[in-house]
């Protein structure tokens, strides 16, 4: 039973699909919104209704508060789920929903504003008795002041966008001579990603752990935490693999971080689902980083170990229901790992690789869940985040979860673009990861030791390519064996001709 009959999903990709699935299970009708680039996207196909909201660039569609509210009114949707990214942490959007009498499935707009500005979040955390990463509690603009603060904290330091997140507008600075250019880069990235160029400065720890606590709070003063997620496998300060429980977290640290999270949740009167991110140093001291006032990409990891459907609970909490459990009812059961599959080339520094997906095979079998937004024939738009799918493995312990994930990553195929799947394959066989002995420096260290494909597999790949070319035309015709414009081809022809002379 639920108070809502219809929910609009103000997002796209796998997370829109995830929310639509929750709506369907709850017996609630769903409304998708889509840009001109997304008419054929999976979330549009899966929803009960769909409304176009403008051209492909997100600021003309998925970031247009007016058009999304028009779509909600036009379809008589009573609530809006924002997913993550886009308008999920936009206080003006939450306020516009409140003003329009449409339920925003998330915290109150003033909470989003308070926690969305990272320096005000740091100030309120200090007031709640939660330790924060050393650094400024206000944004800094003046280069002299930044030099003074950096000297006071000691290098390396981190420059961070005051609003936003997801690794954008963030720069690690290791020496004073880099401060000015890094500041310019961070400000310009923050400006283009979030429309706000303000940055602040934090001490950067060497090889810290990035560990977060999931929280849920209802409108009646009840709040719980759903334990931790270990998020230390990162590239460009963005997570690629998460797991729960964290192999680094002791029962004492888990209980301390849970208490800190609850202190901040109570201090700000938090409602709905949220996540507190912490840096944890080598001595297991947690420092509050920021709070994400929304559902996280990696929420399935928590769902698998707690058995709780976070999205359905978000909806029920927004409808005014009470949390159906208390802290003591909650347990971590077994172990879960998530691998994010991005359209990025891990062999070329994780450069984005847009293109058309010609075929997809989704992994299955025991303990495997795949949250995906792609299908065969899907053209990856260049306008949005290149996340294609998430594979989540659950097992009775870390060993069995890893074994399932290794199997699933080999089964999963996305044909047509480079993806991070080969990276996951390597990671899942990496000694440090297998031992559970890793921190945020892991991906960088892996880049220093690139994998080589072994000779027999290389021969097999070459044989497969040659047979495919042979079958296409039976002879090394340029049309089949590569374009005649290919520099390799031309070089070969030139050499062959020279050899004849």
């Amino acid at each position: 039973m639920s108070a809502f009959r219809k929910i609009l999903v103000a997002n796209r990709g796998e997370i829109a699909v995830r929310v639509i699935r929750a709506c369907r299970e709850l017996g609630i009708a769903s409304v998708a919104v889509y840009s001109e680039a997304d008419r054929g996207a999976l979330h549009v196909t899966m929803a009960d209704e769909a409304r176009p909201i403008g051209p492909a660039p997100s600021r003309e569609s998925y970031l247009r508060i007016d058009r999304i509210l028009d779509a909600a009114r036009g379809t008589a949707a009573e609530a809006i789920h924002p997913g993550y990214g886009f308008l999920a942490e936009n206080a003006a959007f939450a306020r516009a929903c409140e003003d329009a009498g449409i339920v925003f499935i998330g915290p109150r707009s003033e909470t989003i504003a308070l926690m969305g500005e990272k320096t005000s979040a740091r100030r309120v955390a200090v007031e709640a008795g939660v330790p924060v990463v050393p650094g400024t509690l206000e944004p800094v603009a003046d280069i002299d002041q930044i030099h003074r603060e950096a000297e006071r904290l000691g290098f390396p330091v981190m420059l961070k966008a005051a609003v936003g997140g997801g690794g954008k507008g963030m720069r690690l600075v290791t020496s004073p001579s880099d401060l000015e250019t890094s500041l310019a880069r961070a400000r310009s990235e923050a400006g283009s990603a979030f429309g706000d160029e303000r940055v602040y400065i934090e001490k950067a720890f060497a090889g810290p752990h990035h560990i977060e606590i999931q929280v849920l709070a209802d409108h009646h003063g009840n709040a719980v935490h759903l334990f931790e997620r270990e998020c230390s496998v990162q590239r460009r300060h963005q997570k690629v693999v998460e797991e729960s429980p964290s192999p680094f977290v002791t029962p004492e640290l888990r209980s301390l971080m849970g208490d800190l999270a609850m202190a901040l949740v109570r201090k700000v009167g938090y409602r709905n689902a949220g996540t507190l991110e912490f840096l944890v140093d080598a001595d297991r001291h947690p420092f509050f980083l920021e709070m994400n006032t929304r559902l996280q990409v990696e929420h399935p990891v928590t769902e698998m170990v707690t058995g709780i459907d976070l999205v359905k609970l978000q909806v029920r909490i927004a409808a005014g229901e009470r949390l159906p459990f208390v802290q003591d009812d909650l347990r971590q059961r077994g172990h879960a790992i998530e691998c994010r599959v991005y359209a990025e080339d891990p062999d070329r520094g994780f450069l984005p690789s847009p293109g058309r997906i010609s075929a997809v095979r989704i992994p299955g079998g025991p303990g495997i869940r795949t949250d995906s937004g792609v299908y065969a024939g899907y053209e990856i738009p260049i306008h949005y985040d290149p996340l294609l799918s998430k594979v989540i493995a659950h097992g009775e312990d870390r060993e069995s979860a890893m074994a399932r994930m290794r199997r699933a990553v080999a089964e999963h195929r996305i044909v047509g673009v480079a993806t991070t799947l080969p990276f996951h394959e390597r990671l899942l066989r990496h000694d440090a990861f297998m031992a559970g002995n890793y921190d945020t420096s892991l991906v960088e260290r892996m880049a220093d030791d690139p994998s080589a494909v072994d000779e027999p597999r290389l021969d097999l790949a070459i044989a497969a390519a040659a047979i495919a070319s042979f079958r296409a035309c039976g002879r090394p015709n340029p049309k089949a064996a590569g374009s005649p414009q290919s520099p390799w081809w031309q070089a070969g022809v030139a050499e062959a001709q020279r050899g004849r002379e």
Partner: protein
């Protein structure tokens, strides 16, 4: 059919012969007896000495990209060279930096005439909401810069020539 296959720096001479419903493929000195089935949509099933290999294939400019249990291998195919002619390697001459994806040029870090180390950042490009630093393909001098800051480029657009 005889072709040259290139994977990274490795160049192999490859001969393919159809024998009944199988293929005999010589890759340099090694011969593989391959039972090959096209399952459609780029999925292939290869059996070699009773071992089953689950391979996906996609055609790309110059050859194919193949995925075998988590590894993605780019195989470029070209015409075979007469015996005794060494295949040409791409060193010693100018190296071109091309756009790996469509996007916007945010900054040019090294102007024409500037010297660069291999893998040093040369151009910052914004694509898929991220700023990506594109690195010099080799050590040398930036001879030509073909783009301006703020310009939008397509995949494969020539950005910079390093000599």
């Amino acid at each position: 059919m005889i072709v040259e296959a290139r994977v990274g720096d490795r160049v192999s001479r490859v001969e393919v012969r159809a024998v009944g419903d199988r293929y005999l493929v010589s890759v340099d000195d090694r011969t593989l007896d391959v039972d090959f089935i096209d399952c459609g949509d780029g999925f292939l099933s290869l059996m070699v000495d009773g071992e089953s290999h689950d391979v996906t294939v996609e055609r790309r400019s110059g050859g194919f990209a193949l995925t075998l249990r988590g590894s993605r291998v780019i195989v470029d195919l070209g015409p075979s060279l007469p015996a005794g002619v060494a295949p040409r390697h791409g060193s010693g001459s100018a190296a071109r930096l091309v756009a790996p994806m469509p996007g916007k040029i945010v900054r040019i870090l090294v102007p024409a005439g500037g010297s660069v180390e291999a893998a040093q950042g040369v151009v910052v490009m914004e694509a898929m909401k991220m700023e990506n630093e594109l690195r010099a393909p080799r050590t040398g001098t930036v001879r030509e810069v073909h783009v301006q800051e703020g310009q939008t480029v397509e995949t494969g657009a020539l950005l910079v020539v390093v000599e």
